[in-house]
Every structure is written in C-alpha cells, then in structure tokens.
Symmetry: C2
Subunit: 400 residues, 2 copies
C-alpha cells in the first residue's frame, strides 16, 4: 500500500498541519492534531450510527446540517467527551471557538473531533492556553503532515495515510486521507476517525453523496469486534483549487475517493487489536443488499469463526453455521462456501478436503472467504481480523 | 442449585436410562446416552433456528409435525451429522430404527440427537451392532440416570440436571431435565441439547406450548458466544402417569417447567468455555419485546463488554456504547444503566463512582446489569459469561 510521509494531508496543495500537547494526557505525548485549508471549503461528513453520540459528533452534525463550510479540523485524544452532557458540548464549542479565533475564521467553520476515555469531563478551559501555539505551528511541510497523522494515532501501532493523484483527460486532482484505528488498545479508548481532503471543487451536496457512497463499502464494511464508538467520524473537505473540466470525470473522483477510503479501512483492520490475520468475506447471490450484508456481518462478527482463523484451524462448519443462523433470506440448497480457492460446502454437503490443502490455505496472512447464497444479484464485502489472545489481553487489562 | 444424581431423568417414575460406547469416538469413552419411558408419550420439541440443520433436527421436526408420540431419546456424541446430505438423514433413521426394534416400538417413536464434528459422515452402519447392548443396559436406577447425564456431557466440565417436585392442592407431579452445554470446548464440536420428562399427562399441543414458553426466557436467553449450532434441541416427553385434578394447576406446571429450564440454562452459561463470571443483563422500559431483546442481545454478545467483565474493569462506557448501537427504539434521554447496585449512567451523563465501590462490584462472580431504555412495559433478560483467554485457547487450538 505504500504509506509514506508525503501521503498525509499536506500532500494536497494549501493544506497545513500541526500537532502538539494540549494537556489532556498525563505524559506529555502529543494529544492534538490540527489540519487547516486556506479558506473555508465544502464539508462532507459521515458519523457513528450509535444513538450514544459524543459531543463532537453532535457538534459536527450541526455544522453539516446547516451546510457550513469548514476551514480546520482539530482532533484531540485522551478523552472522548462522550456521556458528558451539556458541559461536554460546551467544551467542544470552546475548543472550536479558540481555534477559529487564532486561524481567523468563524467558530462554526472549525470541526473538533475527540477520541479517548468515555464519560469523563474534558475541562476544555484548561486546554485553551495551548491552542495559539498549536495554530502557530501549522505548516505545509510533509513533516508536519506526517507528525499530525502520528499524533492522531494514540491507540494504533502505525499511522495511516493514503493518497490518489488522478489524471483523467484534462482533469488532474488529488485526494488524500489520514485515519486512526477502531482498535481499542486501552480500556475505554475507542473510535475510528478519518480526515480526507481533496483539491477538486465539488459542491457540498455532491461531496456528501460521494463520501457516503465511498464509506458504505469501506469504513462501514470493516469489523474488528462489532462494537461502534460514540465518536466514529469521517470528514471530507474540499479546498476548491481545481475545477472539473469534464463533468464525466466525477465518476473518476468517486472511484479514487473510494480507493483512498478502502486503503485506510484495510489498514485499520490490519492494525486491529491483536490481529494476526486479514480476512475478506464476500457474499454474493443475495436477493437484497440487506440479506448479503446480514450474512457478511454475521460471519465477520462470529467469535468462533474468528478464533478458528487465529488458530489456523480449517473449520468450514463454523462459517456455514454462521451463514445459517444469520437470519438472512437465502436459498439454502444453493448455498456454497469457498475458503481461498477451496470449495468447502455445496449442495448441503461439506467437501472432503485433504489436510495439506486445508493447512496451506489457513497459513496465509490474508484470507478470502466467498459465500454464495442463491441466484440474486446483490453482494456485500466485509473486512475483519482474527480473534486472538492479545485481543482479550488488551481489552481486559485494567490500566486506569 | 443442588445438582445430585437423583435429579436426573430416572427420578421420574418409569424412566430408564443407559449409557455406552457405540464407536463414534476414538478413545472408547461413552459416546451414547439413552432415555426411555414405559410407553410412547406426548412429545414437545424446540430446535435450532439455524437454517443449517443437522439430520437429527430434521428427523425430530418431522416427528413433531406429524404429532408422533415418543418412547425413547438416543443421544450420540462425537459427530454432529450436519452437512452430510441425504446419507446423513439415512444414518439418523437407521439408528432410530435399530433402537426401536430393541425397545419394541416403532422407528418414528424414537428421537435421535447428535452432537460433535460438523460435516463428517456418521457411518451409522458401523454403530448398529452396539445398539442391543445399550438398550439392554436400560435401568431405572439413579446411577444409570446419572451416568447417562454424564455421557451426554462430552464438552462440558460438569453434568447438568435439575428437577422440580410439585405439590399443588390435590395435584402432585415431577419435572426433571438434563442438558449438555453450548460451549464448544473442542473445535468443530458444538450444540446445546436438553431432554426433559414429566409424569404429568398433558396433551401434545399444550405440552408444545408450555415448552416454547419455557424455552423463550431460558434456553433462548443465554449466550456464550452468540453462535448457534445446527443441532440445538430441547425435547420434553410426558409419561402420562399423573392426571391433572385441578386444571388451574397447569400454570403451576408452566412455572415449574420454566424453573427447570432456567436452572439448566444457567448451568450451561456457568460452564461456558473459559467462563469466570456469570452475567445477567435485564432490559426494561422497552416499547416492544423485540426492542428489549435487541438491547440485551447486543450487550451480551459485545466482546468489549465481555472482556471488561473478565478483566474486572469497571467500564460503563462499553455497556452504554453497546446499548446505543443496538438499533433498538429507545428514548435516549431516559436510558439508565446500573451495574449491581451502582447507578452508572442517567440523563445522558455518567455517574462519578469511587474506585472502591467500582472494584467491589466487579470482583463478584455473578453480576447483574439493569438497563432501562424508556417508559415502555416490555422487558428481556439474558444470561451470559465473560470472554477470556481460555475461550480463545479452547476455540483456536487445532486438535484434529
């Protein structure tokens, strides 16, 4: 995938980045990342579907619904500012206002995203004195971009960035994105966050539609443990630098945006807590998309399936069992399952597979499971990781 | 709970039991249990909702739908006879016919249940020579009853039996049940099985209704890992010995049946793979039962919630997060959560809980989580265990 410094957001013309310490964490490691574009630009966002929402998601949704343009995104880590009531919302807006004042834009032209411990007051007033230094540090250098992507990291084992530079006929544009993982390395720390920027000038409504399309098959198709944080957010800004000359190229933009999102989503799964395997589950032949998705989700969230992959145990019975209990509408007589190239189940009977072939397919770091549930035309693809000792260790240790 | 030998099925007058080795397992440990009543009696059954069904579930369902009376239940372990096609169904029927011949009843008056490896041919013809000895061993002794309950065990760490002897006015009757757990100690081994017998004479239709009612809040309200086997079965037979004198006492029977099922269901959870905690999750205030159940299921299947309980980590954020993402209809402003006696979340804000109280509640072996999601009158209660290193070890080890 090639994650390099120059794939961070500063690789898009005009984007500046900074990182620093606001005072949320105890150990003075960077707990803030800031990304800014030259002028307020079109803003699209997709957020957690959890009814339990962080103050920052509520704040970001308000700006989205009001059709605001956005000039900067501030990301803080160490405290999720979730389950903190009205004071929590005030804390988020205080940080937005302080950042906006230094940048020279309006408070509602700044997005604030939080990640960290749930249910603990943020006390934003204690963080405000450090905002001017953070804004002053904004730089268009690739080093600043890389450091800001690093500062988002917190619970990830590697920083995540991806970029596409597209040339299509007379059009040339760039999409870049950074992300932090869904893994919850520390108890009570959670959240998947991603910030994307493009230089292509796209109106807000079209930008929002493009982001929703991209997210549906990428960030919304990954599962480390099936849990969803109150803070999950994907933000896309447009600097508006490049005008689209050939309107037909909007589909090229859509494809590139989806690719960047897929890169980042896959990195998040590969960096899932304790993960040793990357597993792609593809369901085809469904009568509706919902049926296809239900089967895929049931398989990728099955602890029995995930522990079998960790143990490299060739165990088609667990996959077929998960398919059967998914509740999706399917034509059971037509259900077939492949692990890698091996057909393991068809016509209601398991195939006889010799042990060498079975072990060979399970040894791989990346596995593909193909499930056909009938003759319908709908499909769904999900990415997940295995369930390991380290997952249990990471999530059961009491560290606070 | 008091599990004693005399709580096995032979504690009901006329019930005989036997256990033995048919040749399914390699190491000559008992792999068969047999329970028989004096004459074919009313039969009720509740089976896996998995679309992937073992041959034995299909066979048992056929007898149920045909309104057959049943005289004996044969349980074999080591092979689930699932995903084995038409030959699998023939294998099940061959065992039923051979058992019936020895007992002196019809083939469709015998239920056969299997548990074990999925997708491997059973080769019943090799097992038939041992059936006469098994039937000959049938005995009404409490020792035979206890040994048969032991023989069902296979993957459980203790055998599971429960009984209620009821005296209500002029009526006196008994309900006894045995079960094996849902835990899947060995890879590819699965299945929750339970056989219950009562001496009360109850017509088939009423018996079926009573069993469904009892199962809905007991066996169907437990979750070790959210997976459901193709073989899960609960069977209830009536010997018809005792006539109900006061028809109003049918509700007493219902309560006693539910209690026996709840005893067995709780034992299964406590014996869940690697379990160190027993967790009861009660959801109240829902507008519909489905909403209540959706919240309960989401919480008891959340790996983050279950690892936190294993680590004795006081982590209300994970519970509230699971409630929020459940998708159930709820009144978020009215959601409240208690762990034990501690109110941890109310009015969208987490309570401040001192560390001593938090640790005290998490140290307990049995925990109660109460979740109120509004002012509706529907409720749901689920039982689960924690997610531990041993769960991962047990389910990832390659032992075949």
């Amino acid at each position: 995938m090639g994650i390099e410094n120059q794939t961070s957001l500063t690789s898009v013309l005009g984007v500046k980045a900074a990182s620093g310490y606001l005072g949320i964490k105890r150990d003075e490691v960077p707990d803030a990342a800031l990304f800014a574009i030259p002028h307020p630009g079109a803003y699209a966002g997709v957020f957690t579907q959890n009814q339990f929402k962080s103050a920052c998601v509520e704040s970001s949704l308000d700006r989205l619904h009001a059709g605001k343009s956005i000039q900067a995104v501030l990301i803080t880590s160490g405290n999720a500012n979730a389950g903190t009531g009205l004071q929590g919302r005030a804390d988020t807006e205080m940080l937005a206002a302080a950042t906006a004042e230094q940048i020279g834009c309006k408070a509602d032209e700044v997005i604030v995203l939080h990640t960290g411990v749930i249910g603990v007051p943020l006390h934003a007033e204690k963080l405000l004195p450090k905002i001017p230094a953070l804004v002053s540090a904004l730089s268009a250098s690739s080093e600043a971009g890389a450091k800001a992507a690093e500062a988002m990291r917190t619970t990830d084992t590697f920083s995540k960035a991806s970029r596409r530079q597209v040339h299509a006929g007379d059009d040339a544009f760039t999409i870049a994105g950074v992300a932090k993982g869904a893994g919850m390395i520390h108890p009570r720390l959670a959240t998947m966050l991603s910030v994307l920027v493009t230089d292509l000038d796209i109106p807000q409504e079209a930008l929002q539609k493009a982001l929703q399309t991209a997210v549906s098959t990428t960030f919304n198709a990954i599962s480390v443990d099936g849990d969803t944080s109150p803070n999950d957010s994907v933000i896309l800004l447009s600097t508006g630098e490049k005008q689209l000359k050939d309107s037909g190229n909007i589909s090229v933009f859509q494809d590139a945006l989806t690719e960047v999102c897929e890169d980042l989503a896959k990195m998040i799964v590969k960096d899932g807590e304790g993960a040793t395997k990357f597993i792609e589950v593809e369901v085809t032949g469904a009568e509706t998309f919902t049926d296809a998705e239900t089967v895929a989700v049931t398989v990728v969230t099955s602890p029995l399936v995930k522990t079998a992959f960790f143990g490299e145990d060739f165990n088609p019975g667990r996959i077929v069992s998960a398919v059967g209990r998914s509740g999706a509408k399917m034509d059971w007589e037509k259900v077939s399952v492949k692990i890698g190239d091996i057909l393991v189940f068809k016509d209601e009977v398991f195939a006889v597979v010799d042990q060498d072939s079975a072990q060979a397919v399970m040894k791989a770091d990346t596995l593909h499971v193909a499930i056909k549930i009938g003759n319908g035309e709908h499909r769904s693809r999900y990415f997940t990781s295995d369930l390991t000792y380290d997952y249990v260790r990471i999530n059961s240790e009491y560290t606070t």
